[in-house]
């Protein structure tokens, strides 16, 4: 379960001054559901997810993740969260096994538990062939599989994915999407950010459209289709953020 209440994040930047990356965002993600966070470049997706993963501290508002407050108990939140983003890379000089084992240890697991869990994950993700090779030589697909195993080693209740299919080929992207769906089927709370509309249609139970740091629309896919009288997710997105003009204005900034 993720509950965000009036979440706000403002950055101080030397050149650009104050940047309101996330403004007054409230939403709820339930277990067994995939919440799709939709937004253009710079909309505030990554910042929102980092707030939930306690990598950043909110300047306003609050959030609870898996029952713990992100400000009061960030370490407890992190024990229940698996965070995967394009910016969470692997240690190139470690093998996949060492990498995943390290994160098991960091999550307080003992050697036997790590070994058992790693066996399961490696079978599910078909990693046997490269488990003992160093990550620096991996293909993008192998890297992504290793990263997923890294986020899942401690079997977290909440999964946070920030554009996990970025830069992947169709086959690998499909495998990832299937895996995210699998997480939901096991009853995990999943939040998934993307700007690829087709992924939202295929994957998400609830979608939130974020624009310029604000959550401008939210609902199940059928609710959104009904509200904007559009079937196509892309059209819904354009309407929700205020039409082509708003997109053009956002691009200028």
């Amino acid at each position: 379960m993720i509950e965000a209440h009036h979440l706000t994040k403002t950055f101080k930047d030397k050149k650009r001054g104050l940047i309101a990356a996330v403004r007054d965002v409230s939403f709820t993600c339930r277990p067994g559901q995939i919440y799709g966070l939709l937004g253009a470049n710079g909309a505030g997706k990554t910042t929102t997810l980092r707030l939930l993963a306690t990598l950043l501290k909110p300047t306003g508002g609050s959030a609870t993740v898996a029952g713990h407050d992100v400000v009061a108990a960030p370490e407890l939140v992190r024990t229940h969260v698996g965070f995967l983003a394009a910016s969470t890379a692997l240690y190139g000089r470690l093998t996949a096994r060492e990498m995943i084992t390290y994160f098991g240890q960091l999550n307080g697991m003992d050697a036997a538990a790590i070994k058992a869990r790693l066996k399961v994950l490696s079978a599910e993700l078909d990693m046997g062939e490269f488990l003992d090779r160093r990550c620096e030589k991996f293909s993008t697909g192998m890297k992504q599989k290793t990263s997923i195993a890294r986020t899942l080693i401690h079997d977290p209740a909440v999964m946070i994915f920030d554009e996990p299919t970025l830069g992947l080929d169709v086959m690998t992207a499909r495998a990832i999407v299937a895996f995210v769906r699998e997480c939901r089927n096991r009853g995990k709370t999943v939040i998934y950010s993307t700007h690829i509309m087709s992924e939202v249609e295929k994957l998400c139970d609830v979608a939130g459209i974020i624009h310029d740091g604000r959550l401008v629309a939210e609902g199940t896919l059928s609710e959104l289709r009904a509200r904007y009288a559009e079937a196509d997710m892309e059209e819904i997105f354009v309407k929700a953020v205020g039409g082509e003009a708003a997109i053009a204005a956002a691009l200028k900034n």
Binding site: F11, K12, D13, R50, A53, L55, L56, K57, E75, L76, R78, T79, V81, F83, A85, S87, T88, A89, L90, Y91, G92, R93, L94, E98, Y102, F103, Q105, L106, N107, G108, S147, R150, T151
Partner: protein, 417 residues
């Protein structure tokens, strides 16, 4: 703080660093090779150049001396019996100043008009020797000329005494003899004390530098920092685990240098005492003739190790904090390179003769270490100053470490856009 977390982070960083070529180079390979290279490499080259220079006849010019053919002939005929060759190679007279400057000749001697005649009449003419101050080969030529003319003066004086039926011993009413009174380990301390602290300080810093950059800015650049921050481990444990690895780099650089120094001294001991080129690397060392093999007081060495520890902590924490601020390995390098000068300067000042430890200097980081090491290696123990140095260095180290933890908790440092 949790020891289990800390150890997990530390062991991972240790394994990771042992697979990094740059870190291995700066923490193990260079420290191991630097001393043998300096002693056997530079020392050998230097003594080779020296003996070669001493082996050749000195090219010189004679200015004037047309009416003193006897002296000129004697100069040309002067032989070095030990090396069985002429001492001088007389070059036809020309512009001697330019020739010395261009290193065509080593020195020139001006023989005044009527020199030979003056020797007979008992006048006191002046012979002038021209040379290039500070140039080794020119110095050799100048010394050879000076020896020739002082010998001549001696002989002339003796001749005059015998002519007047006086004993030659009048010239030498007493003898002067020189003998080393310092115990061998103190000689060693002074010779070694000059540059060992200097080397230790530099290696401690370079040993900390590469792991520090790799574990902070390097991780940010490669995108693994965010992955690590996703783990539930408290930030303090991550900082301390990483810091411990940086400290390991610093200490290992020092330990490997000292080990290789011990081995070098052991293996090369006989060679070094034999040729007398022992530790010519230390500037003033060359002039001292050592009639005993210099040994280093092992207590002094232990003292040095103990004193270096807080400074290694300081270096590790400082290098860690500074490179934490950088976004990339390159940026970290550009911050740490100028730091190198800040580190070397006090170390060099400490090497200079004549600067001695006092209460005020005991508070100056790095310089205090360099000075106290020099003292300890030559068997001097100022316990009050040692306490001040250990205390102040530890305090600086603690401050630097606190700063590192603080930086690690700053979002704008960890997630610089």
């Amino acid at each position: 703080m949790n020891w289990r977390n800390l150890t997990t982070v530390y062991l991972k960083e240790l394994r990771d660093s042992l697979r990094d070529r740059r870190t291995l180079l700066s923490t193990i390979i260079i420290p191991t090779l630097v001393i043998p290279l300096m002693v056997f490499g530079v020392g050998k080259v230097m003594s080779k150049v020296m003996s070669q220079a001493q082996g050749d006849s000195s090219p010189i010019m004679i200015v004037g001396g047309e009416d003193s053919p006897g002296i000129v002939a004697a100069l040309k005929a002067e032989r070095d019996p030990a090396k069985n060759r002429p001492v001088f190679r007389v070059v036809p007279t020309g512009d001697y100043r330019t020739a010395i400057g261009d290193k065509k000749i080593r020195a020139a001697v001006e023989i005044p008009t009527g020199f030979e005649a003056a020797l007979k009449t008992g006048d006191a003419p002046t012979v002038t020797i021209f040379y290039y101050e500070g140039e080794i080969k020119s110095g050799l030529g100048q010394r050879a000329l000076e020896k020739f003319f002082t010998d001549l003066r001696q002989k002339t004086a003796e001749k005059r005494l015998t002519e007047h039926n006086l004993p030659v011993s009048l010239l030498k009413p007493f003898e002067v003899k020189r003998k080393n009174a310092a115990p061998p380990e103190k000689v060693g301390g002074n010779l070694v004390g000059g540059f060992v602290p200097y080397l230790i300080i530099i290696l401690c810093f370079t040993g900390a530098m590469y792991p520090a950059m790799d574990l902070t800015a390097g991780e940010k650049e490669r995108g693994t920092m965010e992955t690590l921050l996703c783990s539930p481990v408290p930030r303090v444990d991550i900082v301390l685990g990483k810091f411990l690895m940086v400290l390991t780099g610093s200490v290992s650089a020092m330990v490997f240098m000292l080990l290789s120094m011990g081995t070098t001294a052991f293996v090369g001991g006989s060679i070094m005492t034999g040729s007398g080129t022992t530790l010519k690397v230390g500037a003033a060392a060359a002039k001292t003739t050592v009639d005993v093999m210099p040994t280093v007081d092992p207590m002094g060495l232990f003292g040095v190790l103990a004193m270096v520890l807080p400074v290694a902590v300081l270096f590790a924490a400082a290098a860690f904090t500074i490179s934490l601020f950088a976004k990339s390995y390159k940026e970290a390098q550009s911050y740490l390179a100028p730091m190198m000068i800040v580190v070397i300067m006090p170390a060099v000042i400490g090497m200079l003769p004549g600067i001695d430890l006092n209460v005020k200097l005991a508070f100056v980081p790095i310089l205090n270490l360099s000075l106290v090491c020099k003292e300890m290696l030559s068997g001097i123990w100022h316990w009050d100053l040692i306490a001040i140095i250990f205390g102040s260095s530890s305090l600086y180290a603690a401050i630097a470490l606190m700063l590192a933890v603080k930086m690690f908790n700053r979002e704008d440092v960890m997630f610089r856009a």
